[in-house]
Symmetry: none
């Protein structure tokens, strides 16, 4: 095995472990010791690869952000027919797949955002990027082009992006609490989401 590969694997394992620990206990509640244990590496090795606990958080945020923005549903959004419920359903499914793959970090990002003076506002960065793409969607998408941009942003953030992130962050707890399987929950959520957010923002959507 080439040494770079071994390094890569170890280095990556640490980041994955950090994400899991941060998501399960919050950044402040997580312990570097536990990250090391979970990654099955010596604690000091974490500091060989990374500068600090803080850096792990930042790397996690940027990589999550990049992954999401480079994902298929994100880049291919402009080819979607927003008036077709089937297409929207497919798009939402793809999007949720991408987000759920990084749900650890999304949870974390939400926790950080909830603090009064959040240092990390990845969620806003992603949101702003997404908004940019939306405003450049072709006319064919038939999305409501509101008279004022602030209103559109507020709608998109509080009834669009956030409910989706909330779903990603909280769906497992919901499954546990109400004993429902993932597939049904997701289908129901998308149904609700289409009926509320998309029905409002894409008035011409055909149900």
């Amino acid at each position: 095995m080439a040494p770079e590969i071994a390094e890569q694997k170890t280095k990556e394992r640490i980041l994955t472990a950090a994400a899991a620990e941060f998501a399960s206990k919050g950044f402040d509640g997580a312990r570097v010791d536990d990250i090391a244990k979970r990654a099955e590496v010596n604690k000091a090795l974490i500091y060989y690869y990374y500068k600090s606990k803080e850096e792990l958080l930042e790397l996690l945020f940027t990589s999550m952000s990049e992954e999401i923005l480079a994902s298929k549903p994100m880049t291919e959004m402009h080819t979607t027919d927003f008036t077709d419920k089937q297409s929207l359903f497919r798009l939402m499914n793809q999007f949720l797949d991408v987000l759920e793959a990084r749900q650890d970090v999304i949870r974390l990002a939400l926790m950080e955002l909830a603090k009064r003076t959040p240092i990390n506002t990845v969620i806003f960065s992603i949101f702003e990027d997404v908004m940019g793409r939306m405003f450049s969607l072709p006319e064919a998408s038939e999305m409501r082009k509101p008279e004022n941009k602030p209103q559109a942003m507020i709608t998109e953030f509080f009834t669009g992006i956030l409910p989706i992130l909330d779903y990603v962050a909280y769906h497992e707890i919901w499954m546990d609490r109400f004993g429902i399987d993932e597939a049904s929950l997701r289908a129901s959520f998308i149904e609700s989401f289409l009926g509320t957010h998309f029905a409002y923002t894409v008035p011409k959507m055909k149900f």
Copy 2:
């Protein structure tokens, strides 16, 4: 001044300070020292009145929960005409007033809920209580009576309760980031909320 009153004040001040510290740094990130400083009391006094840092969190959660459920908009919900946009607007405004008075603790509750194995699920408790009230609303409220309860709950949670709590938790950051005043932001949010969630759940609402 009667001794009970003096005690009340100090004891209460600690709880308030705790809410602020927790909301600004998260439960694990908050320091008892800082709570003491903010409340302007001796640190040991905190332990004279409360058992532990943990207990502060729990008391905060239960009192918030009780306050919300006993609030005017909550108890008078069944007298609201859900088909009248004006009434809904008024109800939402009242509700947001109540929630914003406790936004510290709501923020906290959201952070806790985001952890993989959240110990505190006040939000679910409140949600379940609210759902109970909703299902017992009079026919006249004209709310969509969905064929299956799980779907209704999912809609209510992910596109109803959560966006509202998100608004309460994140509106200040939004104001900071996008330089918008509170009144406008709230008006816009309610507008979006009525157009999405209520338009869906109260089909007969007259715009």
Copy 3:
């Protein structure tokens, strides 16, 4: 009820509670809070009556010491016929009664003595007083008058006083551990004690 009487009672109750707490957890392990709880008084009241936790210990030691040295078996020792087993048995029983009434403090004194640099050496004070009385016993007592005083003191301390104090301190644990009743244990102990210590120091004892 005259005020002095009430005071006496409360003040005394504190001392008794202190003895119990000290005996059960050691001086350093005992908490002033627990003493107050046990005495059913306000914690601050302890400091109204006594200067400090330390003072409680000292008062306990001096009162115990005085009580023992003024006790009947102590003052009437010189009238005992040491050659008569019955008389010795009776004397030992009286002595153990006196000591057991103060076993809390005796336990404490032993704990303190075990520390490398014991501040409180009540046990030595008592021992030295007892030695003085012994050396002034009438010839009739028939106690062995050893050629050298140090040897006599060593015998008296390590095979006389200490086993008795040990019995007082540990007999309850013994009862618990070996399921024996107090009367049998005491009878057996005295039997052993007469057969060992007294058989040696009073050679003319008639069995």
Copy 4:
């Protein structure tokens, strides 16, 4: 130097320092800070090697117990001629050597035992082990085989084991107080012990 040896040294040094601090101030009176200072290590290092202050105490007790029970005088007891004063003297000397090497922990064990509800009863464990060996001594040892076992145990505990432990625990204070050298004190103590305890339990001993 092999790493295990370096580790051993530091780890061991902590335990030794703990024994000294505990013995000099009692378990509750001892400070982890002082243990660290005495061992010349960083306080946190103590928790790197050991779980808690409590664990230090327990390890001290078990190692002391094992050492004593595996010691030469203990294992070779059955080859001793109990009727020969010289042999007994030698045995006692060996035994005291072993015990004095661990006098810190013995002191500690006595302090713990004196508490009303002692958690650590190592002394009883050792005692019971010793009793087992005694009852299996060959006939040739000529020890008194008492009609009833409880009586034998009580004799052995209160006039045998305890005076010996007391000697180990208190002989240094005695030396300080009465200005006697160790050799003389020990010789006198053994003399007294043979004349009392052994004279009673080994009636055929030739003086």
